[in-house]
């Protein structure tokens, strides 16, 4: 669940030289590499799109030497964000020990004063800006997220600024009807924008499945830098907003199909 629409906008605004925290990233990393938006990186999982393979464009950029990389692991980055959310300078863990991942990270080893065990310290990570795509939010920024959480609540509290994009705006009354559904409270949020299908072409759990065809198209076209340039022009730079991008790639009709696959309705049909 990534803020794809926001990533497109970052490219459209030509943002450069940012530091990026690549924590379980997939298509979002691919887009930011295409726009060379960052030159410093904390890397947990990058370049890959899990079972779909590696992004040629992301590989090219990461192999260009333009990016200063600090290696971490998925847990390390969630621990670093946890530390910031707790308002403490670090949290200890037992991963990283003995590996090159440790050597190329910013972790430190101490001997636990209680048990003498070696622990890898994870320094707090205070992002200047966090952008989180959620299912629902009210105008104040009280957010509801369904399905698995990455470290969304922690991230909103760790970051100095938090921007929320949501599938749907809902009323404050609805939030207060069932407070246990709220994942991010308003006082952690600085801006709220309603961006339906904001995670397209990714999978927004309980909303719409990923557009696998379109994701494969990205991987295919990236193999030829020239072709890829035109592809980006058509799909990002020439698009006013996310809806224009969607309309160029199947529009409402495809979104409906992706919703049907998401809810496994086709499976019920097949039964």
């Amino acid at each position: 669940r990534a803020p794809i629409a926001a990533c497109h906008e970052i490219l459209r605004q030509g943002r450069k030289h940012m530091g990026f925290c690549g924590h379980t990233t997939t298509h979002d990393f691919e887009i930011l590499c295409a726009g060379e938006a960052f030159d410093r990186l904390d890397a947990g999982y990058i370049v890959g799109l899990e079972a779909r393979g590696l992004s040629p464009c992301a590989r090219r950029y990461m192999q260009s030497g333009k990016v200063r990389v600090t290696e971490w692991t998925n847990y390390s980055l969630s621990a670093r964000i946890r530390a910031a959310a707790m308002g403490v300078p670090f949290v200890p863990a037992r991963n990283l020990l003995g590996t090159d991942t440790f050597d190329t990270s910013a972790s430190m080893i101490i001997n636990c004063p209680y048990t003498g065990k070696k622990l890898s310290l994870h320094p707090a990570l205070y992002p200047d800006v966090a952008i989180i795509h959620v299912h629902e939010s009210d105008v104040y920024g009280n957010c509801r997220i369904r399905g698995i959480l990455k470290s969304d609540n922690d991230l909103a509290r760790a970051a100095k600024r938090t921007i929320i994009t949501c599938e749907r705006l809902i009323s404050n009354e609805e939030i207060r009807r069932d407070p246990s559904e709220t994942t991010i409270p308003y006082f952690l949020v600085d801006a709220v924008c309603e961006v339906p299908f904001g995670n397209y072409p990714g999978n927004m759990v309980y909303e719409y499945f990923s557009d696998e065809e379109h994701l494969r198209e990205w991987l295919k076209v990236e193999e030829d830098p020239e072709l890829f340039k035109e592809f980006l022009q058509k799909n990002i730079y020439d698009c006013k907003d996310h809806h224009e991008y969607i309309n160029k790639n199947g529009g409402m009709e495809k979104m409906l199909r992706l919703r049907t696959i998401e809810h496994l309705l086709h499976k019920e049909g097949d039964k």
């Binding site: 079972a51 260009s64 003995g98 999978n203």
Partner: protein, 257 residues
């Protein structure tokens, strides 16, 4: 005449037999997930599969493409967070983990970060640890699933992303990693290997049908130890292949590669 099978199908079927009923297992996507699903549908219905992104013990309608997609959380008993899964491993609740890797050395150390060049300017940049270092450090038994090929089985990894037995002997625990954890078995298309208890060096214990010890050693960049009795691996059965192809990976995401 057993049905024909490809290398990936063989590895998945053989690996899945290791996962006893009631065990807990942490996986990412790809072949490891297929092996876990196959085991759950066959002889280990109570195998608890935990996906890195947070879903616990789902009833998978089909192979998930990503650890975080709605398939991975389908009819799970719980959807928690990535942090919760890793902490559950750190607390000692997770028996097995399955990892792949671009390079593996004689002590089971894995490289999934980069090959060639330098860390800041690599020739081939890979995804990095993801959850691999975490699972490899924190789960009791690490299992590796990869193709038998001397470009993968190397004398020395360009980068140790995930800890195996590190420099062998007791070096893993001296580095501070939890006592009792460590690499357990390696499954390739040609053989099954474990780690000799003293030196912690990789050792062949079973060879897959159609291959010889020479084939295995020829496709390995370092000298493999040999167990006193090396058995012959049972090939995939009709049922294993049928379930793998029809239920586990009908879109052939993994077995098609």
């Amino acid at each position: 005449m057993t049905t024909a099978y490809n290398a990936m199908e063989l590895m998945i079927c053989v690996a899945s037999r290791e996962l006893e009923d009631g065990a807990t297992l942490a996986v990412g996507t790809g072949a490891p997930c297929a092996a876990a699903m196959l085991a759950q549908k066959l002889n280990s219905p109570n195998l608890s599969i935990m996906f890195e992104a947070g879903s616990i013990n789902p009833q998978l309608p089909e192979m998930p493409i990503s650890v975080g997609d709605s398939r991975a959380g389908h009819k799970a008993v719980m959807v928690s967070t990535l942090g919760a899964i890793m902490e559950t491993c750190s607390r000692g609740y997770v028996d097995y983990t399955f990892l792949g890797g671009a390079q593996i050395d004689m002590y089971g150390n894995l490289n999934s970060t980069y090959i060639g060049g330098t860390h800041q300017k690599p020739k081939v940049r890979l995804p990095g640890s993801g959850g691999a270092n975490d699972f490899g450090s924190l789960c009791w038994k690490m299992m590796v699933l990869t193709v038998q090929d001397s470009r993968r089985f190397v004398e020395k990894c360009d980068f140790i992303t995930t800890p195996g037995w590190l420099q062998g002997g007791n070096s893993r625990y001296e580095a501070g990693l939890p006592e009792g954890t460590g690499p357990y078995k390696v499954f390739t298309n040609m053989a099954i290997m474990d780690f000799e208890p003293e030196s912690k060096r990789m050792r062949v214990i079973s060879i897959n049908p159609g291959y010889s010890m020479k084939d295995v050693q020829d496709n390995c960049g370092f000298e493999l130890l040999k167990a006193s009795q090396i058995t012959e691996t049972e090939p995939p059965t009709e049922t294993e292949l049928k379930i793998l192809r029809e239920e586990v990976d009908p879109h052939r995401y993994v077995i098609g590669r």
